[in-house]
Structures are given as C-alpha cells and as structure tokens.
Symmetry: C2
C-alpha cells in the first residue's frame, strides 16, 4: 500500500452513514457512498458498515488523512466518542485510534455540529468568517462555534449548546429536564407538538393541519403556513421567535462575524427566516452585527467539515516537517 493524495471523510449520522473520498485540495468528491441505517441498530453495526463503505471506496489505497464527523458528544482532543444519544454501544469509544490502526493514516474526530460549522466556515456560507456560530435546527437544536478559524470545543467538549439556553422559564418541558429551552420551543418535534396542542386547545379554529392527526410533522406545519393556514403560521412564528431569541443571546455573548443556520427546519420558508432575524436583532445590543444566513452545504456539511479536519491534520504535519 502506498500513500496517495486522497482524504477519507466519514459521517456517522445516527440514521445514515456516509463516506467519501476527495483529492487533497480538490472540491468535488471522487467517490461517495451513503447507507441508511436500519431501525434499532447499534455501534458495532455502524462500525462494521462504515469500515466496509470506506474499504470499498478506497480500493486498497491508503488515505493521507481521515476526517470524521460523529453524531454525538466527542472528546476531540483525545479522539474519543463519549456516547451517542441515539445508538447504544458507543460509550467511551476510542474511534480515532481504531480508525488510525485500521486505515494506517492520521485521524481527526469531532462532534457533527462542530464539524458542520467547520465545513460551512471552510467551504460554505461562513467562508472567511473567523468567528462563526453554526446552528442546526432539526430533531434538536445544536450549535458549533468557530473561533480564529478553528473549532472551539470548550472545556468539556460541549461548547455551543444554544439549544439548551433558556428562552422562557415558563415554556414547555425540554428533554434536558428544564423548561423553555430553545430546543424545546424551536426544533422540528417542538413545532409539531405545539401545532397538535393548538389544534386540541382551539377545536373550533379551522386548519388544514387537522387532516394529519398525530402523524403531523414540522414540515407539514411549514407547508400549511406557506399556503396561508393561520394556525400553522402562528405556531411556526412562535418557534422562529424562540430560535431568534436564543441566537440573539449567543450573539450578545459571542459577537460572531456571522451566524449560519442549517438543518431541516431552516427550510421552513421566508417568513420563518424574517422572524428569526427580527427576534435575534431585538435581543442584542445595537452595536452588534446580526448577520444570519442559511447553510450552503445542506446535509453534506459534516462530510465537508470532515475534509477540513483532515486538511488541518495535513497542515499541522506540514508545519512540523
């Protein structure tokens, strides 16, 4: 096996595993493979599947470096997965060392929100923004912080938890046990739940959302809002306001050059964006910039961020030589 000029990028996404190969300095994939995970799988399934995907793409070649995005808390400095909130068996896994041994190349691992932040900073909507807050709004609300062009992990590798800053002490219960967290008011499931509660509480108000019953999702709410459904619009606006409030708080503390929002809920339409921006502006000081833009890399942000992680490894190696 000889060292070639390729990078391996891996994304352990919880419901989906992705692997890709790219040439160093290139900006288009040479090869990419994705596998949707079966329900109720575990860490050993993910490990074996990802290994197989990578081997298939590499075709016997050895990558120069490997970048890894993992969908859960990671001790990036030690390259260890702390746990997965969704998949059993990942507790305290030395993923960096395992992959290093397997593929004979240096490996850098970080949490998916952090890696996506790095991806948007290097290749996406946050280019040249040396300080950047990335927020992903989907089944939860996560965040990643770039400072000085690097991922800022924090003392316990959990910096950027904007989803668990509190928006309203009297708000709905959050998975973390507190009330009124941004996540509990702004993520996809929170939007669906708020809509179901409104439908129940206001049985005489007509809404196209009644047709969905308990299967109602945030995407349904967004579509109905777009079609002029007043109840759906109200629910979506409340969620956007909560998110904007949380982003305003983060701006007040971090004063980043830019905020990039990704995740499924960020596709909820122009009205949602307007309210997010208004609420953020209303919750900061006038001298602070409020520059909030959509993510550019979509679902591929973690994979692109993994490329950036791998390139950082190569840069560091070059400096040491």
């Amino acid at each position: 096996m000889s060292h070639t000029n390729i990078i391996l990028a891996l994304d352990y996404g919880g419901t989906k595993l992705s692997a890709a190969i790219i040439g160093i300095g290139e900006r288009a994939w040479r090869a990419l493979a994705r596998v949707q995970s079966p329900p109720q799988h575990d860490a050993s399934y993910e490990q074996a599947t990802m290994r197989a995907l990578a081997r298939e793409l590499l075709k016997g070649e050895t990558p120069r470096a490997i970048g890894v995005s993992f969908g859960g808390p990671v001790d990036a400095a030690r390259g260890r997965v702390l746990l997965s909130h969704h998949i059993p068996g990942w507790e305290d896994t030395p993923l960096r060392d395992q992959l290093q041994a397997e593929f004979n190349a240096p490996v850098s691992v970080d949490n998916d929100a952090n890696v996506a932040a790095l991806g948007e900073y290097r290749f996406g909507a946050g280019r040249d923004c040396d300080s950047l807050l990335y927020v992903t709004v989907s089944t939860g609300v996560g965040g990643g912080i770039i400072i000085g062009g690097k991922i800022y992990n924090g003392a316990d590798a959990v910096a950027g938890e904007i989803g668990h800053t509190i928006c309203d002490l009297r708000g709905p219960l959050c998975v973390c046990g507190r009330r009124g967290c941004v996540e509990a008011m702004a993520c996809g499931p929170a939007i669906a739940r708020a809509a179901r509660e409104r439908l129940r509480a206001e049985p005489h108000v007509s809404s196209t959302l009644r047709a969905y019953g308990d299967a109602l999702t945030a995407a349904d709410v967004a579509r109905a809002a777009d079609s002029g459904d007043a109840l759906a619009q109200n629910v979506l606006e409340d969620a956007a306001r909560a998110l904007g409030f949380g982003i305003g708080t983060a701006i007040t503390l971090l004063n980043p050059m830019r905020v990039v929002i990704g995740g499924g809920v960020s596709k909820a339409g122009e009205r949602w964006w307007t309210i997010v921006r208004q609420a953020a502006r209303a919750n900061t000081l006038p001298q602070m910039r409020v520059d909030i833009v959509p993510a550019a890399l979509g679902d591929d942000a973690p994979l692109w961020g993994a490329v950036a992680l791998a390139e950082e490894l190569l840069g560091q190696k070059a400096e040491r030589v």
Copy 2:
C-alpha cells in the same frame, strides 16, 4: 533616552486613573500612582492627567511596552477608543497611536473587562484556564472572554456582554431599553433600586434598610443581609439568582474552564456566592463544569491585565525578530 526593561501599565477607570511601572517578568510594582477624577471631567482632562502621571513615574526612562485598560468600548485591533459611556470627548480616539507617539514604545489597548479577564488569567484566579469567562458586577455587569489564552474580542469588539443577556422578559427595564437583562437585575444600582421598591411596596415589613432612604446602596443591602435583615436577604438573593442564570447561559454556550467574578457586588458575602453558583448550575447541562470563583486581583485586575497586554507585545516582537 534609552530603552530600559520596564513596562508601563495604564488604567483609565472612569472615576479613577491609575498608572504603574513594573520590570519585565517582575510581579511587584516598582511605582504606582492613582488619581481620583473630579466629577464631570472630560477626555482631555483624563488624557493630560494620565500623561502627567506616566511621565512622573517614568522619570525620563522609555518603557519597552505599554499596556492600556480603558473603561469603555475599544477597537483593540486598531487601538482606538470608540467612546466612553461616562466621560465626554472620547469618541473615536486613536489612543494607541497617541501614546505610541508620546512615549516612543509599542502600545496595546483594550476594554477594561477584557483586560481584567486577561489579568485574572495571567496573574489571578484564572491562571492556566485557557478558556475563561470574567464577569464584573458593580455599577453594571460586564464580561471578558479568554480563549486560547488570549482576549476574544468578537467581530465588533463587544463580545462577552453577559450583562445584556436576558434573564426574565418580564423583568425590570434596562439602560439598553430592553427588559430583564442580567445587568438590570444584578448590578449594584439594580440591587439598591429593588430594595427601595420592596420597602415602598411592603410598608409594614420592618427592615433596617428604611433608615437609609433614597441614599440606599447595594453595599448597605449586603451588610443588612449579613446581619439577618430578611427583606435585604430576599433582594440580594434575587440579584444573585439573576446573575447565576446569566452565567449558566454563558457556560452553556461557551463551556469555559472557569468563571471568575469581580467587582464590588462580588463582595456581597457567602450567601450571594452560594446562590450564584446554585443558579448557574441549575441553568446548564449536567456534563458542563460549573467552576465559579472570586477574582483574585480586585480593583487592580485591569492594571495587571495591562501588564499582560504589554508582555504580549514583547512576545510578538520577539517572535518577529
């Protein structure tokens, strides 16, 4: 004039000007001078007084570097004071270039909360804490952030405004025009105001604070609380809870190694500290450390931070040589 091995540290404090001389690498002042400013002075008074203080201390010697703490927003990268919230005439002043020309030495200027944060990081309660949040609670609530051992200024040089994160949307009006900012609930004047309002609202409750009338200060409230006055204790606890909530939010976003609290209100006693810590812990995720300690450098934190700024300049110079 020959270059000697001394550093000049300056602190433009709003009500007080301080200048000090220290040997490079030394940790005790060779000379220190302070002047209390007269009421209603202006920028030109401060400029002339500080210049005279510094000249007197320097006795004709030229410092190797000058560090400056300024009590207002500063564009640190360009060395310009943006304004003072208290003293007229400081608008857009190129303080770095002025001092450089005057004293023939490199100058670094930053905002007082940032400089105090750097002082506590280098010489005080935050030693070796590469990520650090410094919070000062006095006539306002300010903050400074250290990341990677350096001041983090933010995109508009206003990062760390923990005083203007919102604690309770239904709270008291803040100077910034919004409601329920941490500053409006936790700073000294807010404590005094809350006590006066409680005394008025509860005319039949006995309290030693009634003797003070409109001259009542936060220090009076703290002393009365310490002596067992129930109304004073309640007021102080509310303020501590608001501050702790804000610190919890900041920890959730920044996950710093440590939080250091300085300023006059931080001398309010053990009960205040206990509640600040409890409220911060209650407003973060369990996996985040909550390490909150008193500032070690007291009122001298900006001056020591100015020394650290000057030493950074010398370090950078050395690297460039």
